[in-house]
């Protein structure tokens, strides 16, 4: 005996009767509706700090800025902007972002403990830091109907920025990095500003002198 399939069924709904085909049609229509009316939520997309993970390192007279870019996300090469701000006041090294900071010795060490050093307005006046033109690696080309071909980065990009330092050290500065990226899923993030604090001690061939 043939076993009835769902499409053969007659289902009672209230006082009426609904055929299996009708039931399937309702289900299919409902599923289709859900697919074409996606109320897309914020949770579908990463927080930009997670999508574009920023780190920066001072190596010799160069800043090395790295973005680790989440899968499905990309950053525009022509939208990076880098600036430095000299820091004044009490500077707690332990409050620097995790990672590395330049030490007096070999250049890079893990942040540990809280040390405090004060850089007053006078010491800032003695120091000048300028950024040279950033050096970008080749990216990949992204095409869209509005802007044509744009160079973008996926997965990871390291940008090297020469530092031109004149005057006396020690000193402290903050690197401000503005970037802009999008998700393949169809959103673009507002320009993102990330920062990293550095303390200059005056070695590694940098101009300036130890007091």
């Amino acid at each position: 005996m043939k076993r009835p399939s769902l499409t053969d069924l007659q289902v009672s709904v209230g006082r009426g009767r609904v055929s299996g085909k009708c039931l399937l049609a309702v289900c299919a229509w409902s599923l289709a509706l859900l697919m074409i009316v996606p109320a897309r939520g914020e949770e579908e997309f990463l927080d930009p700090q997670e999508a574009f993970r920023f780190s920066a390192l001072l190596t010799g007279a160069e800043l090395e800025v790295r973005y680790r870019i989440a899968d499905g996300y990309y950053m525009y090469r022509d939208r990076y902007r880098f600036t430095v701000q000299l820091q004044t006041g009490e500077h707690q090294i332990g409050e620097l972002q995790s990672g590395e900071f330049q030490t007096e010795g070999s250049g890079v060490a893990e942040s540990a403990g809280i040390e405090t050093e004060t850089f007053d307005a006078q010491s800032v006046e003695r120091l000048s830091i300028e950024l040279g033109p950033p050096m970008f690696p080749a990216g990949e080309w992204h095409e869209d109907e509005f802007f044509g071909r744009s160079e973008i980065y996926r997965h990871e990009v390291t940008i090297r920025i020469p530092l031109v330092i004149t005057g006396d050290m020690p000193g402290a500065f903050r690197l401000l990095a503005v970037s802009q990226g999008c998700a393949d899923g169809g959103i673009c993030y507002l320009p993102l500003t990330q920062s990293r604090d550095f303390r200059l001690l005056g070695r590694l061939g940098l101009p300036g002198r130890r007091p």
Binding site: V13, C27, I36, V37, G41, E42, D47, R79, C188
Partner: protein, 172 residues
């Protein structure tokens, strides 16, 4: 067999209704969007005259945060323009909030013939967008407000007529 089919039908309906409810009631579910902040905000239009976003209360208002540097935003704008033409007389009102430079927005609006009000801002518009639930700062970001000024839908990413129509039609 009839009983099991009824149970199946009931289960399917419950599952679909639950999923649909979660999909379509995002903002209310999370309670993130404070319409009061939006409706109290004022931003300059393309002539520099400050416009209150509350002035359109009474209509079904679609507030669209966008920028000229955002390709998904530019992609959806023709859909919004067509819907404004089609349903404007029934009380549908689009309002664009451009997070951008005034001159760039003016040029774009002129070129594309945008037929609904555009206001422009930078940090203030970014803050407004965040206060309106866009904590991650993604664009485009769109909110649908019913005639009483209540936010009934929020949407990240580009919209088309097909996916916006079912949301606004029931409010008109």
């Amino acid at each position: 067999m009839r009983r099991s089919a009824r149970i199946l039908l009931f289960s399917v309906v419950v599952v679909l209704a639950t999923v649909a409810g979660f999909q379509l009631s995002g903002p209310d579910r999370k309670g993130q969007v404070d319409a009061g902040v939006l409706l109290a905000a004022t931003l300059p239009d393309l002539s520099g005259v400050h416009q209150s976003l509350g002035q359109w209360t009474g209509k079904v208002v679609v507030i669209n945060f966008w920028a000229t540097w955002c390709p998904p935003c530019l992609e959806e704008i023709p859909h919004l323009v067509r819907m404004q033409s089609r349903f404007g007389t029934q009380g549908l009102q689009f309002v664009g909030i451009a997070i951008d430079e005034m001159e760039k927005v003016k040029r774009f609006v002129e070129e594309k013939g945008i037929n609904y009000p555009i206001v422009v801002g930078q940090l203030d518009a970014i803050e407004l967008s965040k206060a309106a639930g866009n904590e991650r700062g993604g664009l485009p970001y769109t909110l649908v407000l019913d005639r009483s000024g209540r936010v009934v839908s929020q949407h990240y990413g580009g919209l088309t007529e097909d996916n916006l129509l079912p949301i606004v039609q029931k409010l008109l």
